[in-house]
Amino acid sequence: PRARGRVVPDKLSGLLVAPEDTARELNPLLWLPTGVRHGYALLPPLLKVLSDRGPQHWESEAPRLQPDSRALRYMKRLYKMFATKEGIPKANKSHLYNTVRLFTPCSECKHLHRDLRKGDVHSVDLHFNLDRVAALEHLLKSVLLYSFDTSVPISSPVTCMCHLSAKEHDSSGQVCPSVSQSVAFSPHLEVRKRKWVEIDVTSFLQPLIAAHRRNIHMAVNVTCLVGDPRQNTKLENPLHVALVPPSLLLYLNDTSEQAYHRWNSLRHGRKNPQRPRQRNRPPVDPAGDKGNESLQGKRASRRR
């Protein structure tokens, strides 16, 4: 492990990881011949490209799926919040994540979109493929990201309840909800400020990600109540906007060697050898002149 005193992920366990996990961890597209695998394993995926294939490779590479434009806009805004124009991470980030991944639901998802006018709920069946999450990336926070059309005024206070249930495929292929969670949010406040509403689903997803589940299949029901919840409230869709299927945002701490660990740089800064060492003053003796005497003695002995 490098002499930086950083908690280095145990490379040995990395070596013991089954090949398919390693493949997931290292960008599968850039999978290297076994001979040089471990030599390159530490190169950031960004640069493995350079060492592994010349620019001509990129022309022939299969075109990447293009991300959703709203998602792209959100991530560009997040980038501006976290890094300078030159790409230097901003020091004022108080949290520990060094990786943020945004997934849009797979296109083949069914979209149960019942008529909202009759106060029905908005329900959607989502399927996220999280293969890009590496084994050394640990989940810190995850949110469902609903984008709203803010041109629609929201008159009275609205409270919404989002009910999530993960769907497990058991041996017979039957889908049975396994984990479920309800989260309340008030788009009235949120949407006015910005185009997005984030629904925290960390506690819901944590066990699935920790179990290395990479295919997340969940049903999301959003029920909104208009007016004061204590009086008679009507079930209706106050937002009058078609809720597009939400994206899934994962805030992760990448513990691999090539990722930037701000807590480590803070710690490293404290141990910086260049910093002048605190001179250890002789302890002041509260005994007054007796103390001075001993101080005299000390001075003489130090001079000797």
């Binding site: 950031p44 960004l46 990129w58 030159e86 790409g87 991470p89 991944r101 945004l102 890009r132």
Partner: protein, 131 residues
């Protein structure tokens, strides 16, 4: 130094500057050089959305003989220099290499269409040294 002076032949003053040149720091001393690239040049801008420009910098130049106080080099660097000068010229002189780095944040489009914000360690050289 006295020894060297004693050994040195009595040289007429105009060669004195030549004589002392060997103690001066090399003209192209080891130092950090600027280098900026754009991911478009590497044709990577299809999947690296930000930053548009990246300045990795690099270290270049000759290492002076007295590297200790200027570069914080370990004593081994001066030993290697003496070996090169007095014992075996096939042993390379100390090299000018980066000593410190700073991280870089990148925003990329992944092959599956998802979007990733990642912070990588050691992507920009910020200080050079002789080793």
């Amino acid at each position: 130094r006295d020894e060297t002076l004693r050994e040195a032949p009595a040289t007429p003053p105009h060669n004195l500057s030549e004589y002392f040149k060997q103690f001066l720091f090399p003209q192209d001393e080891c130092e950090l050089h600027n280098f900026r690239l754009s991911f478009r040049q590497l044709q990577w801008d299809k999947w690296i959305i930000a930053p548009h420009r990246y300045s990795p910098q690099y270290c270049k130049g000759d290492c002076p003989r007295a590297v200790g106080h200027r570069y914080g080099s370990p004593v081994h660097t001066m030993v290697q220099n003496i070996i090169y000068e007095k014992l075996d010229a096939s042993v390379p002189k100390p090299s000018c290499v980066p000593a410190e780095y700073s991280p870089l944040s990148v925003l990329t489009i992944e092959p599956d269409g998802s979007i990733a914000y990642k912070e990588y360690e050691d992507m920009i050289a910020t200080r050079c040294t002789c080793r």
